[in-house]
């Protein structure tokens, strides 16, 4: 496995010593080759399994009551869902620039991009709250139907991850070294990736 010298910003990073020292090489089964702390990748993998199970459960439930699912889906706002997809994709791009900035040891620039990433995360949550508000005003709640139970469960669980992601971005902004930044942005990209799968399955397929 190739080893690279990295920017001075990472020289004080103690985590990478325990993770990738030659004595502990491959202790994480190859996860140490991925950006950020290997433990974050364990978390990412487990989150993907959970969201994957959610999406497959949603699809299986559709088989049982296709007509009701199609009818309930008409109440969803595809434009709002699409806008939120664009918002998260853009925040993902900003997260790439966060990593680039810390690799150049530009801490201020890194924090500016982090703020931009987090701001778009907040926009995502605002759009989501508007969407929920519209549904609740129309009398559509968690127990209205199986479709809406799964809709609130899956999108709500994802929104909760966005909130957690904002917390992670805030923490790595306080201690911005390479491993922390890569760990935080990896979590953010996972949130982004899950949403690009949730959007077509819940909002578009019928």
């Amino acid at each position: 496995m190739a080893q690279h010298d990295i920017s001075p910003a990472n020289e004080s990073d103690q985590n990478s010593v325990s993770v990738t020292s030659s004595a502990g090489a491959d202790a994480w089964g190859g996860l140490e080759a991925l950006p950020g702390h290997p433990l974050m990748w364990v978390l990412i993998l487990s989150e993907l399994v959970v969201f994957g199970a959610f999406l497959l459960t949603f699809s299986a439930a559709r088989i049982g009551d296709a007509a009701e699912f199609a009818n309930d889906q008409l109440h969803l706002d595809r434009v709002m869902g699409g806008i939120n997809t664009l918002v998260l994709l853009t925040s993902g791009l900003f997260a790439v620039f966060v990593v680039r900035a810390i690799k150049k040891d530009a801490v201020l620039q890194c924090r500016v991009w982090l703020a931009g990433t987090a701001a778009l995360g907040i926009v995502f949550l605002i759009v989501k709250l508007i969407e929920y508000g519209t549904k609740i005003d129309a009398g559509i709640g968690l127990e209205t139907s199986t479709f809406f139970t799964l809709y609130y469960l899956i999108t709500g669980f994802h929104a909760l991850h966005v909130v957690m992601g904002l917390g992670v971005l805030g923490i790595v902004a306080i201690w911005p070294n390479l491993t922390n930044i890569e760990t935080g942005t990896a979590f953010w990209h996972m949130i982004d990736m899950v949403w690009v799968l949730v959007f077509p399955v819940i909002y578009l397929l019928r």
């Binding site: 190859g30 296709a66 595809r78 664009l86």
Partner: protein, 121 residues
């Protein structure tokens, strides 16, 4: 300090042709923006298509439109995995595991769609 990072000179890395500086994932600004444009463009396209074909009757999609929608979603997820999360060839078996995850979702959702189409014939 030594640290393991994915090799920047991956053979399938589209950033290899870029003249822009790249980070440790071998990802240049140009590549990152290209990925964003591709993902955003396909999102806008699928939104427009969904709105144009939105007759508000809830009619079931055929297998081809459903497959197209899922392929676009899976493509975006793969772009994020490959370029933003840095899962290039140097990620080894883990890369295969993540790709397998996408394939399972893609196949599972399409299988459900196909089952519904068959049941409604």
């Amino acid at each position: 300090m030594d640290r393991h990072l994915p090799v920047a000179t991956e053979t399938d890395d589209i950033s290899a042709s870029s003249t822009m500086p790249s980070d440790g994932h071998g990802l240049s600004s140009r590549t990152a923006i290209f990925v964003w444009l591709l993902a955003s463009g396909t999102t806008v396209m699928s939104m427009v298509l969904a709105l144009i074909g939105d007759d508000r009757t809830g009619a079931m999609l055929g297998i081809v439109p459903a497959m197209t929608i899922m392929m676009v979603g899976s493509l975006k997820a793969w772009l994020i995995l490959r370029y933003y999360l840095g899962l290039g060839p140097s990620a080894g078996g883990w890369r295969g595991l993540f790709i397998a995850f996408l394939i399972v979702i893609f196949a599972g959702v399409l299988a459900a769609q196909a089952a519904m189409i068959l049941m409604n014939r």
